[in-house]
């Protein structure tokens, strides 16, 4: 539930920001994520950014998948 989509912040303007996904742009509220900076990715839900995506963790998760895939090869 709670369709929230990763979008890139391309401009910040007070309590609002412009975001982009696949070339689609919208102005959204960052009242819930005031710390956001241009270049960050945020989760967008009903016109509000609800979280800043942790890119480091994202990378670690993918590396974990790759490791599981490698380990399984050994089985």
């Amino acid at each position: 539930m709670c369709l929230a989509v990763p979008v890139k912040v391309i401009a910040v303007d007070g309590t609002e920001a412009d975001v982009d996904i696949g070339g689609v742009e919208r102005r959204v509220s960052i009242m819930l994520t005031p710390e956001v900076k241009v270049g960050d990715y945020v989760l967008l839900h009903t016109g509000y950014a609800i979280n800043v995506i942790d890119e480091q963790r994202a990378k670690e998760t993918l590396e974990l998948f790759e490791e599981i895939a490698r380990l399984d090869e050994i089985h």
């Binding site: 539930m1 709670c2 369709l3 929230a4 989509v5 990763p6 890139k8 996904i21 696949g22 959204v28 509220s29 009242m31 819930l32 994520t33 005031p34 990715y41 989760l43 839900h45 009903t46 016109g47 509000y48 609800i50 979280n51 995506i53 942790d54 890119e55 963790r57 994202a58 670690e60 998760t61 993918l62 974990l64 998948f65 790759e66 599981i68 895939a69 380990l71 399984d72 089985h75």
Partner: protein
Amino acid sequence: MKFIDEYRDAGLGKKLAEHISHISKHPARLMEFCGGHTVSIMRNGLRQLLPPHIEMLSGPGCPVCVTANSDIDRMIALAQLPDVIITTFGDMIKVPGSYSNLSQARAEGADIRIVYSSQDAIKIAGENKGKSVIFIGIGFETTAPTIAATLLQAKQKNVKNFYVHCLLKLCPPVIKAVLDLGEVKLNGIIGPGHVSTITGTAPYEFIPRDYRIGFVISGFESLDILQTVSMLIEQIEKDEPAVDIAYSRGVRPEGNPMALQLMDKVFDKESADWRGIGIVPASGLKLAPEFADFDAMSAFEVKVEPVKETKGCICGEIIRGIATPHQCPLFRKVCTPENPIGPCMVSSEGSCSAYYMYGDDNG
């Protein structure tokens, strides 16, 4: 698309599924509490990739599905008041109440508009000063802070013709209520991803502690769900239930403190009526006294006919995970997306809708 495509990788997905088969030695019954997970599992055919002794059940994770008939009836009654514009998320438009739905009310002349954001409702209020704009506030903790933020803006801008009909609900209490019903014996819970983005992990600590059931917070792509299942199976095999986060790129243990703060400011907790479960204490949100002026139910008086539940509809049991859509006598025969009898079929995240749209003929 970044942060989406990588988590749909087919090669890695197949490997994760194989990994789960290798490590899973005991039967396991897992429940997902989020409609988004139900849809992702069905859409990606994940059940087909998992060994048959891992059972996946769907719980009450769709805020539309768990809205009581009486609340829907009241919404429709509000729509029929003169000089009222109803603004709502698209999800609610076809949900059947006792006698009608918003779509029908609109065809009969009510001014009902679908909005993408609660902020759009304030805009509509500004453009229609002679009318009252009522926003139907439906959702869980993911949506609650967004509506709180919108109300704060409405208060700041001194908007006089904007109201919220608050039907927001909370997840941890309903998870407890379902576990307390004791109808299903679960070994693990696939935790709602975006609800947890807001709440963090603390509200779920009671689950492994008091019920010895593992709780792993999951993202929504196929790899995310497979990773979550893998982590739950590991817990089950070691008999070490715990709260954990699989969706680490989207969820922090402390959640979103700013969002929680805004929710605290704007809402108070109250008991709420969950379809199929009944009244669950402290599981709903109402507007705090400081925001009472925006409360649609105080501002408008509506008369509703007595609530009527549809015979044969077992949405309640499906929501509690003790029946699957195939066990409903109305599923596919009478109850279809064109003619939904209960909310589980009309909501895009309801179990019945997911099974109908994405299910195999045989399952």
